[in-house]
Amino acid sequence: MGPNNDTAGFAEMAMPHLDAAYNLARWLTRDPADASDVVQEAMLRALRFFGSFRGGNGKSWLLAIVRNTAIDWIRANRPAQIAPAPADDSDPFENIADEGDDPEAALIRVSDRRQIDRLIAALPTEFRECLVLRELEELSYKEIAAVTGVPLGTVMSRLSRARLLLQRALVRENAQ
């Protein structure tokens, strides 16, 4: 097995997940050109690390590298976007509807595709990544924990927070 075979093996494993990799990078960087740069860099890193990949979940493995590459990129180029992690680990079971229940809020109306994209893009990075991995990539909590490198309880609380913020933003905008 030469290096070429390793590369082919890597491509076989990684390329089916290229769209998922790009989608995550695109949502994290919020810019198409930056997302392409991040994915290229992540693929090269992944190829370098491929020797240490011992089977298992290829998608999670690759997305974790894409995620870390994207966060490194944002830190280097847009440091203001990475705020210090909020203290969201205190109550992993915190859920939506901790506010008074407004009957109007029951109606989740989305005026168009651009609106929901814009509101998700406005979420803080650590909430946005959980939401994208769960709803768009359909990863399990465990897989999201593996990709983002945080405990399961934190994944749950971030996801809950992301949904709460998104719901509030939708209700606020569409009530006007």
């Binding site: 097995m1 075979n5 290229l18 790009y22 994915v39 290229q40 089977g55 029951a106 768009l136």
Partner: protein, 262 residues
Amino acid sequence: MTQRIDHAEAKALMQASLDGELDAMSQLRFDAHLADCPACTAEYARLKALSVAVRTQATRYVAPAELRAALAKALPLDVQDPPKPSNVVPLRRWFRPAGAGFAVGAALAASLAVMIDTRNADDMLATSIVTAHVRALQPGHLTDVQISDQHQVKPWFDGKIDFAPPVKELSDQGFDLVGGRLDYIDGREAAVIVYRRKLHMIDLFVTHASHGGGHPDSLPAAHATPSGYNVVRWSDNGQDYWAISDLNRNELGDFAKAWLGR
């Protein structure tokens, strides 16, 4: 009798229920609470609507062609042989071993796109079966009907799908029948019959055969997928079968043989 849960506990379980992450018992208890709590029912509906809105309306970005081309240059990849159309799907083509069947291609820039776009349909199918299997392994998702008796599993499928998947009792050969569920593979309805060998779950996906198909002329052999699961595929009597498991290849091959009665 399931133990009742209070309002606070139901709230704590709500998101996990929405995301299909509850074990069967917690799910039952949550459902029971929902049945007589209008507040939780409304809140659950709201969460569900939000989730659906995100899934259906948010953009899933697709890697641009230029990125694929740039990656093709960066990674010294070769072009995969285009798969030849064939009535009989060679069992060994499921996932080629790394490097096998690759030839040096002239158009490197296009190679990655070629490789993706021409991945043969079976590879895509295998990927979606792996995905379905992994999803099913999440707590509470394994089986819709959990009965270890073929006479109960078989009628359960009646009226749910338009074909009758054979449900075989193989416990005398070390494969215990656990139950069944419905799934979708590549847009087709599939009956999934779930077996267990020791601690390993085996999902047997059954669909209408994609191309006719009589009795297999050779014994199927199991193959590893890149994600580490082993898969074995065969066709029999107009139906396609895929067995997937983290069981080792030999034993999964034994499962196929046992099922085929050989």
